[in-house]
């Protein structure tokens, strides 16, 4: 019985390929969205904390605030659909690319606040010590503040990436065949919800566990200097 079901859901007609190829899309989207999110988040965190500390970059800071408010104030799936159906509505464009843009831009807002809180958590004395030695503002950030801030935010950053990995499961809304959609397609063919969805859930779970482990290892390495 169970064997039959397994055969129907995964072996027959090479249905496992929906899962396998979906997993590839999910990983691809997550990886590049994480990269984009880090770049956006880093830049915004620099602008916002520079404004907080020195009062410079007032206009840029304003735009950053608008971005943060809009992105954090609307659901990611709505942002995904707006980018696909509205912004790129009239052009033929890769769905993977759209998903990367949407999730990257979305994640950037959260990463920005994570980085900023990390920068602001470093005692101002560190900043003054750097400046008093003759480092300018960017050098002080680079050599003294950022390395410490990064270490402090690593757990939050790891968590954000886990959230992002799972959030890409709404990619089906623009008919992108990611892991979740792959499982769903099998369900629609076999009329069996249990097996394909459980398989999908298991794969997400294993990926998250592996990633959590990696972050823990990195954290422990970075903490070595603190004793």
């Amino acid at each position: 019985m169970l064997q039959e079901k397994f055969y129907d859901n995964f072996i027959k007609d090479d249905r496992w390929k929906y899962i396998w190829e979906g997993l590839g899309v999910t990983l691809q989207v997550t990886f590049f969205a994480v990269l984009l999110g880090i770049i956006i988040g880093f830049l915004i965190a620099i602008i916002r904390s520079t404004y907080d500390k020195t009062g410079k970059m007032k206009l840029l800071n304003f735009f950053c605030n608008v971005y943060l408010t809009v992105i954090r104030g609307t659901p990611v799936v709505v942002q995904l659909m707006i980018i696909y159906f509205v912004i790129f509505g009239s052009v033929d464009i890769s769905k993977v690319f759209v998903a990367i843009m949407a999730f990257g831009i979305n994640s950037g807002a959260y990463v920005a606040e994570i980085f900023r809180s990390g920068i602001m958590s470093i005692d101002n004395g560190q900043f003054e010590a750097g400046r008093s030695l003759g480092f300018n503002y960017p050098q002080t950030m680079r050599y003294i503040i950022m390395p410490q801030a990064f270490k402090n935010v690593l757990p939050a950053l790891g968590n954000e990436f886990i959230v992002l990995l799972k959030e890409t499961s709404v990619s089906g809304y623009i008919a992108l065949q990611d892991l979740t959609k792959g499982g769903d397609i099998i369900r629609s063919r076999t009329y069996d919800a249990f097996m394909p969805l459980l398989a999908v859930a298991l794969i997400y779970l294993v990926m998250v566990m592996i990633f959590t482990k990696l972050v823990n290892i990195l954290e422990r390495r970075l903490r070595n200097s603190d004793h």
């Binding site: 030695l133 300018n136 050098q139 410490q148 004793h227």
Partner: protein, 248 residues
């Protein structure tokens, strides 16, 4: 002590207003000569720390001018980073970089700013560490050091930039009593070697013994100044008399 009369820092009528209400500095003028050891004392909230922190523009005065080696560092076009390299600063809370070893703490600025080679910078750092008796701590991290050791490292870190003047902002206030001595001893040594120093402190013994000039600040102004003998032996300002009667 040796003073050759060259003005190193000239402060011309600086004011500092915080948040439009608190007048931390109310018209302070002074000249610090090469080789002088100026000790600044006063009740808390008197503006003495703000004054010291103004000398390297960690606090930017609301008005007035500060000249370092003849250059107006309060002028907009002045590259303050260049001048700060020659003004070492030591903080109450040490502010060592916790993510770097002691050796890296000391060599970071010489390598990155003065463009020294790593070997050069490390040789100099080890030499300085040996002088302060902390050579064996080169590879340790700040969290493994006692307060007194941290502050001596902080002094060494500033010295590694070969500064013209050292600014001390209550360097012993955060230390356990038994560690105050080792830091003051190092500061005395520095003074003896001819370093120009400006020191905000509550250690009156240090002021008496080492200072070439003592300043008393109150309510954002320098109320009285003089040699330690006159300052402690024959204070004129009533508020200074009151201050001294409380602490001595």
């Amino acid at each position: 002590m040796i003073t050759n009369g060259d003005v190193l820092i000239k402060v011309d009528d600086i004011h500092k207003v915080f948040d439009d209400s608190l007048h931390a500095l109310n018209g302070v003028s002074d000249e610090i000569l090469k080789g002088e050891v100026v000790v600044i004392v006063g009740p808390s909230g008197s503006g003495k720390s703000t004054f010291l922190r103004s000398l390297n523009l960690l606090e930017v005065p609301t008005s007035g001018h500060i000249y370092f080696e003849g250059v107006d560092i309060t002028a907009k076009q002045t590259d303050i980073d260049k001048h700060r390299q020659k003004m070492g600063m030591v903080f109450q809370h040490f502010n060592l970089f916790p993510h770097k070893t002691i050796l890296e703490n000391i060599t970071l600025a010489p390598i990155r700013i003065l463009k020294k080679t790593r070997e050069e910078a490390e040789t100099q750092a080890r030499e300085l560490l040996r002088k302060v008796g902390l050579a064996e701590k080169a590879q340790a991290y700040p969290s493994q050091l006692s307060g007194g050791q941290k502050q001596r490292i902080a002094i060494v870190r500033a010295l590694a930039m070969d500064p013209e003047v050292m600014l001390f902002d209550e360097p012993t206030s955060a230390l356990d009593p038994e560690m105050v001595g080792e830091v003051l001893e190092l500061m005395k040594q520095l003074a003896h070697d001819g370093m120009t120093m400006a020191v905000v402190t509550h250690e009156m013994g240090f002021a008496k013994e080492v200072a070439t000039r003592v300043l008393f600040m109150d309510q954002g102004q320098i109320r009285e100044q003089g040699t330690p003998e006159d300052f402690f032996g024959n204070p004129k300002d009533p508020r200074l008399q009151e201050f001294l009667s409380k602490i001595l």
